[in-house]
C-alpha cells in the first residue's frame, strides 16, 4: 500500500490527466445534494429546536366550536400550567370601511406560555377594548397604533403591530389579530355554531411526555373531538411542506449527480487513457496488478475527496445563504448551523457515484496487457468482463437504497429514481440511434458537414453519454416547468373564472333570510349558494378509534384535525356518485354519510362501512351510503363528508355561502353591507386566496427551476469536458483541414455542425419526453387540464441548445487554435 501511495503521489505530480472534469462534476453535483439535504435538515432542526416557541407550549389541545368541559379542564390543569385561546376567522374593518379577513384570537393573561410575541416598537399588549394586528393586516387596513378598527360589533383601538407571533403554520390565509379574551365577547362573533377553535397550550411538568399526554387525553375524551399537537410536531404542516419540497429537490439533485456521474466516468476514462504508458512501464518493471490498481484508485480517490470536500463546503453554507436570500419563501427560518448528518449523506452519495463511474475505466486500464500499449496499439480495452460490472452496480444500488432509505416519502423517491432511470435509458438509446444515423449520413453533404456528422460517431465520442447528460436535465426542466405553468395557469385564470368571488363563513342559521335579502339587494343577479356547516374530527372507523390506529395511512388527510361537515338532501353540483346510492330527499332513518371516493380508497372504506365523527364532543356513527368523486377545482363547497338529513340538524350549525356575481360586477358593496349588518359574517375573497397560493406556487416553481437548471449546468459541464477529452482528434481534424486549405471559420463550422446536431436532437427528444411527462402528471396525477405556457416551454430547449453549443465551442477553441506546425509534430 505504501508503495502504491508513493507511486500515486509521484504520478499525480505530473498532472491530473483528465481528472479535472471529475473534480468539477463531482464538486458541483455534491454541492447540489449537500445544499438540498442541509436545507431540509436545517428546517427540520429549526422546527425541532423551536417546537415549543412555535407551538407556544409543550402540548396544545384544541377542540372545535366549544370549550372544554369541567372534566376536561381538570385534566388539562393536571398536565401543567396552561393558557386558553379562542380563535376564529373575522373581518376587521378599518377606516373607509376597508375590510380584511383576520385570524382573530382571544387570549388569556397567561398567553403566550412559551415563545415570544414580537411587537413593533412602541406597541403594548392589548387590554380591554384593544387589538394587536399583524403587520400585513395593519398595512392592508392602513392603520397603525392608536387607530380604531371594528371587529364584529366591537370597536377596538390598535395597541400594537405584531411582527411575529407563536404559530404552528408557516402559511396562514389570514393574518393574526389578537384581543384579550374578555374583549372577544364584545365582538359578539362567538355564537353557538360559530366556527371557533378553543386551544389549550400547556407547559407540561418535567415528568410528563407531551406526546404521550396528548394521546392519553385524546383517548380519555375520545368522543370530545380533541386534537393534540405536541412540540415535536409543531409546524407539522410546514414540516410536511418542507419535506415534500425537499424530496422533490433531492430527486432533482440526485439526477444532477447521475449526470455528473457520466462526466466522472468520461474523466476516469480519459485519466486511464493518459496513464496507459505509465501502467505498461510499471508492469514491465515488475509492478503487480494490485499495486497498479491501488495507485490509480488512490489518485482517483484523492481528487474525488477534494471534490467532495469542495461540494460539502458549498452545501454547508447553503442553509444560511438561502435563509438570507429566500427568507420570504420559506415556511420558517432554517437553522443556520452546519448539518453534519446531511453533509455525511451527500458525501456518501458522492463517494458511491465516484466508485460507480470510475471503477470500469480504472479496472480496464489495469487489466490491459503491457505489450499492447508498448506496441502502440490503440486502446480498445481488454476483453469485456461482466465481473467488472459487479462493483459499479453495487455502488449504484447502494446509492438508490440510500436515497430511498433516507427519504421521508419512500414511494415517491422509488418512483422518482425509477422514472429517472427510465428516462436515462431512453436517452441512452437515443444516443445509440444518433450514432448509427451519423454512421449512415456521414458521406452526405460537403466536407464540413461530413466531418461534423462523422464526429458524432468518432472513436471515443461521447454521443451516448451526452444524450443522457443533456437530455435528462432538460427533460426534467421541461416536465417540471410544464407542470408548474399548467398549475399556475389553472390557478390564475381558470379557477378565478369558475370560482365564486366571495366565500362567506359564520352566517348564523337564524339570519339566513336577512342574509339572502342583503345579497339580493346589493349583489343583484349574483348566484348564491348556501350550505349548513359544522366542524368535527373523524374519531373512529368501523368501530376502531383513530387514536388507537397503529399508523395513519399516508394521504389520509380526512383523519387529520377537524373536518367541515354538512348535510344535504340533494347531491351537490360537481359531485358524482361512484359507489352506492344517494339518499332520497325525504330520507328519515338511521345516520348515513356520503364520503369522498379518494379518501375512502386511502382508508380502505367501502359502502356499508361505518364512520364516527365527533360533533361538539358527541360521537355520531353513520353508515357510508355512497362514495363521491368530487371536482375540487370548482372551488365551491366541497365536503369530504356529507350527512343525510336527520342527523346534524339538531346541532348548532352555521351557514356557509358563496356569491358569484355576474361577469364584471364587483362584490364590494355586498361585502360592505354584510360587514355592517351581519358583522359576525366573515368574507374570504377568492382573489386573495388565489394570489397567496400563486405566490407560493411561483416560489416553488422558481426553486424547482433553479434546481433543474443546476442539473442542466452539470450536463453542460459534462459536454464541455467531453469536448476537452476529445481535443486530440479535434486538433487533428482542424489541422488537417487547415493543411488542405480550410479557413478558421470553416474549421469552426465543423464543430458547430457536430454540437448543433447533437444538442438539437437531444433537445427535441428531451422536449418531447418532458412534455409527455408533464402531460401525464397534470392529466392523471393532478387531474387537471394540460394547458402549459407553451411560449415559455419552447424557449427552454432553444436556450439549452444555445448554451450547450456555446459551451462546447468555447471548450473546443483551444484545440482549434493550436499552431498547425506544432500540432502536426505532435500528431
Amino acid at each position: 500500500m505504501n508503495e502504491a501511495l508513493r507511486l500515486a503521489g509521484r504520478d499525480l505530480r505530473g498532472g491530473i490527466g483528465g481528472l479535472g472534469l471529475l473534480l468539477l462534476c463531482l464538486a458541483i453535483a455534491v454541492a447540489g445534494i449537500a445544499a438540498v439535504t442541509s436545507l431540509s435538515s436545517a428546517i427540520g432542526s429549526s422546527i425541532a429546536d423551536n417546537g415549543r416557541s412555535l407551538l407556544g407550549g409543550d402540548l396544545m389541545l384544541s377542540v372545535a366550536q366549544r370549550d372544554a368541559t369541567s372534566d376536561e379542564k381538570a385534566e388539562i390543569m393536571r398536565l401543567g400550567r396552561s393558557s386558553r385561546t379562542v380563535s376564529l376567522r373575522a373581518m376587521v374593518v378599518g377606516p373607509g370601511e376597508r375590510t380584511v379577513l383576520a385570524e382573530l384570537s382571544g387570549v388569556d393573561a397567561a398567553w403566550p406560555l412559551a415563545g415570544k410575541v414580537d411587537l413593533a416598537p412602541g406597541g403594548t399588549r392589548p387590554q380591554g377594548a384593544e387589538v394587536a394586528l399583524g403587520t400585513e393586516l395593519a398595512e392592508r387596513l392602513g392603520v397603525g397604533p392608536g387607530d380604531m378598527v371594528r371587529i364584529g360589533s366591537g370597536a377596538f383601538r390598535v395597541s400594537a403591530i405584531i411582527r411575529k407571533v407563536p404559530s404552528t403554520s408557516g402559511f396562514a390565509l389570514a393574518p393574526p389579530a389578537v384581543v384579550d379574551e374578555a374583549a372577544l365577547s364584545a365582538t359578539q362573533l362567538v355564537q353557538p355554531g360559530s366556527l371557533t377553535t378553543t386551544s389549550y397550550r400547556i407547559l407540561t411538568t418535567p415528568s410528563v411526555d407531551p406526546r404521550a399526554a396528548g394521546k392519553a387525553f385524546q383517548r380519555r375524551f375520545a368522543n370530545g373531538g380533541w386534537r393534540a399537537t405536541d412540540r415535536g410536531d409543531a409546524a407539522g404542516g410546514s414540516r410536511r411542506f418542507a419535506d415534500r419540497v425537499g424530496q422533490m429537490l433531492l430527486l432533482i439533485a440526485l439526477s444532477a449527480l447521475a449526470i455528473g456521474g457520466l462526466g466522472i466516468s468520461s474523466a476516469a476514462a480519459a485519466f486511464a487513457e493518459s496513464r496507459r504508458p505509465v501502467i505498461a512501464i510499471l508492469k514491465l518493471l515488475g509492478a503487480r496488478r494490485r499495486t497498479v490498481a491501488s495507485m490509480l484508485s488512490i489518485e482517483v480517490a484523492a481528487i474525488a475527496l477534494v471534490a467532495i470536500a469542495i461540494g460539502l463546503a458549498i452545501g454547508a453554507a447553503a442553509p444560511a445563504l438561502i435563509a438570507d436570500v429566500a427568507a420570504g419563501f420559506l415556511p420558517l427560518a432554517p437553522d443556520r448551523s452546519v448539518q453534519p448528518l446531511a453533509l455525511a449523506e451527500a458525501g456518501l452519495f458522492g463517494l458511491l457515484v465516484t466508485i460507480a463511474a470510475s471503477w470500469g475505466p480504472v479496472a480496464r486500464a489495469v487489466e490491459e496487457r503491457p505489450a499492447q500499449v508498448l506496441r502502440g496499439d490503440v486502446a480498445n480495452g481488454s476483453e469485456k468482463s461482466s465481473r467488472r460490472l459487479i462493483v459499479p452496480l453495487a455502488a449504484v444500488l447502494a446509492a438508490v437504497a440510500l436515497a430511498i432509505y433516507s427519504s421521508t416519502d419512500r414511494q415517491f423517491t422509488a418512483f422518482g429514481t425509477g422514472g429517472t432511470a427510465l428516462f436515462a435509458g431512453a436517452f441512452a438509446l437515443q444516443g445509440v440511434g444518433l450514432k448509427r444515423l451519423a454512421r449512415r449520413l456521414r458521406h452526405r453533404g460537403g466536407p464540413l458537414t461530413r466531418l461534423g456528422i462523422a464526429a458524432l460517431d468518432r472513436p471515443g465520442s461521447a454521443t451516448v453519454r451526452l444524450s443522457v447528460a443533456l437530455g435528462l436535465g432538460l427533460s426534467l426542466l421541461v416536465m417540471l416547468a410544464g407542470v408548474g405553468s399548467s398549475l399556475l395557469g389553472e390557478l390564475q385564470s381558470n379557477i378565478p373564472r369558475q370560482a365564486p368571488a366571495l366565500f362567506l363563513v359564520d352566517i348564523p342559521a337564524a339570519e339566513e333570510t336577512r342574509f339572502r335579502e342583503i345579497v339580493r339587494r346589493d349583489a343583484p343577479g349574483a348566484a348564491l349558494r348556501i350550505v349548513p356547516t359544522l366542524r368535527g374530527p373523524v374519531v373512529a372507523i368501523n368501530g376502531t378509534r383513530v387514536i388507537d390506529m397503529p399508523a395513519i395511512p399516508e394521504g389520509a388527510w380526512v383523519l387529520r384535525g377537524d373536518r367541515g361537515l354538512t348535510f344535504s338532501k340533494t347531491l351537490p353540483p360537481g359531485n358524482k356518485i361512484v359507489a352506492g346510492r344517494w339518499w332520497p330527499e325525504d330520507y328519515a332513518g338511521p345516520s348515513l354519510v356520503s364520503l369522498d371516493a379518494d379518501a375512502a380508497q386511502i382508508l380502505g372504506l367501502k359502502v356499508g362501512d361505518r364512520l364516527t365523527v365527533a360533533v361538539l364532543g358527541r360521537p355520531i356513527e353513520a353508515k357510508i351510503a355512497s362514495l363521491r368523486q368530487i371536482d375540487w377545482r370548482s372551488l365551491g363547497f366541497n365536503f369530504a363528508i356529507i350527512f343525510a338529513p336527520g342527523t346534524l340538524e339538531k346541532a348548532p350549525y352555521t351557514l356557509l355561502a358563496t356569491i358569484a356575481p355576474p361577469e364584471g360586477q364587483s362584490v364590494q358593496r355586498v361585502e360592505r353591507a354584510l360587514t355592517e349588518q351581519l358583522p359576525m359574517v366573515s368574507a374570504i375573497r377568492v382573489r386573495e386566496v388565489v394570489d397567496q397560493l400563486s405566490a407560493i406556487l411561483v416560489a416553488l416553481d422558481r426553486a424547482v427551476r433553479i434546481a433543474t437548471g443546476f442539473a442542466i449546468l452539470v450536463g453542460v459541464v459534462v459536454l464541455a469536458g467531453s469536448v476537452v477529452a476529445t481535443r486530440r482528434s479535434r486538433q487533428r481534424d482542424s489541422v488537417l483541414l487547415k493543411l488542405v486549405g480550410a479557413t478558421r471559420r470553416e474549421v469552426l463550422t465543423v464543430q458547430l455542425i457536430e454540437f448543433a446536431v447533437l444538442s438539437s436532437a437531444v433537445a427535441a427528444a428531451a422536449f418531447a419526453a418532458g412534455i409527455a411527462g408533464a402531460w401525464a402528471i397534470v392529466r392523471y396525477m393532478l387531474d387537471l387540464a394540460f394547458a402549459p405556457d407553451w411560449a415559455m416551454l419552447v424557449i427552454l430547449p432553444l436556450a439549452a441548445i444555445a448554451v450547450a453549443v456555446s459551451a462546447a465551442l468555447i471548450a473546443a477553441i483551444p484545440a482549434l487554435s493550436a499552431r498547425p506546425a506544432a500540432a502536426l509534430r505532435a500528431l
Partner: protein, 222 residues
C-alpha cells in the same frame, strides 16, 4: 521573367520562451523556380521540417522575408495562407495524416470541395486512379496499408493541381520497396502537373533524383 515559387531571404525561426527559447532556423536563403525539384537533406533536428513548415505557410518565420508563389506570406493571415495552400500548395507528410472518418475518395475530395471546385468527386476519383487506387476509393484509412495511405495523401496533395508540392519524409513510415514506389509516384505526379517539388529526406538515394540538393545542419544551409 516569372516569379520564383519559393523566394526566402534570411529566414529565422525561434520557438519557445525564456530558458526554453531555441533558434531553429538561422538565416535561410532559398529559391525554387517553376517546375524545379529540390531535395533537402540533413540529420534529425537540423531544421528541415521547420523549413518545410515555413514554406507551406504552417509556421510564420520570426525574421526575414518569404514570398511564396509571388506573394509575401510573412504578414499574411492564417485564412489567406490556408486558401493559398488549398489552391496552390500540396503537402505530403510522413505520417500520412488522413481524416479517419472519411473514405479514400472523400479525403482526396476535401481540398477540392473546400476550394468549391465543381465536380470535385469526379476529379478526386481521377486523381485516385492516377495513383493506382481506383479500386480502394470506398475504403477508410484504417482499412488501407501504409503505402496505400501515402498514395491517398499524394492524390489529396495533387488533386487541386498545385504549383508547388511539398513532401516531408514521405517514405519515413514505409518499407524500402513501398517507399521507392511512393517516390516514383511523387516525382511522376509533380512532373505531370508541372509543379515544383520539395522533398525532405534522410535518404541520399531519394535526394539524387531531385534537380538540386541542399543540406541542412544546425538551422542553416550547409
Amino acid at each position: 521573367m516569372p516569379e520564383p515559387l519559393i523566394d526566402l531571404h534570411d529566414i529565422r525561426l525561434t520557438l519557445g520562451r525564456g530558458a526554453a527559447r531555441t533558434e531553429i532556423l538561422r538565416g535561410i536563403d532559398l529559391r525554387l523556380d517553376e517546375g524545379a525539384t529540390l531535395a533537402i537533406l540533413g540529420p534529425s533536428g537540423s531544421g528541415k521540417s521547420s523549413l518545410m513548415a515555413v514554406i507551406s505557410g504552417l509556421e510564420r518565420p520570426t525574421g526575414g522575408s518569404a514570398r511564396l508563389l509571388g506573394q509575401d506570406v510573412v504578414d499574411m493571415d492564417e485564412d489567406r495562407l490556408a486558401r493559398l495552400r488549398g489552391h496552390s500548395i500540396g503537402v505530403v507528410l510522413q505520417a500520412f495524416h488522413l481524416l479517419p472518418t472519411m473514405t479514400g475518395l472523400e479525403n482526396v475530395a476535401v481540398p477540392l470541395e473546400l476550394a468549391r471546385v465543381p465536380e470535385a468527386r469526379d476529379r478526386a476519383r481521377a486523381e485516385l486512379a492516377a495513383v493506382g487506387l481506383a479500386h480502394r476509393e470506398g475504403h477508410y484509412p484504417a482499412q488501407l496499408s501504409g503505402g496505400e495511405q501515402q498514395r491517398v495523401a499524394i492524390a489529396r496533395a495533387t488533386a487541386p493541381r498545385p504549383r508547388l508540392l511539398l513532401a516531408d519524409e514521405p517514405t519515413g513510415n514505409l518499407d524500402a520497396a513501398t517507399g521507392a514506389a511512393i517516390v516514383d509516384l511523387l516525382f511522376e505526379r509533380a512532373g505531370a502537373g508541372n509543379a515544383g517539388l520539395v522533398v525532405i529526406t534522410h535518404d541520399p538515394a531519394i535526394a539524387e533524383r531531385a534537380g538540386r540538393v541542399i543540406r541542412m545542419a544546425d538551422g542553416r544551409i550547409a
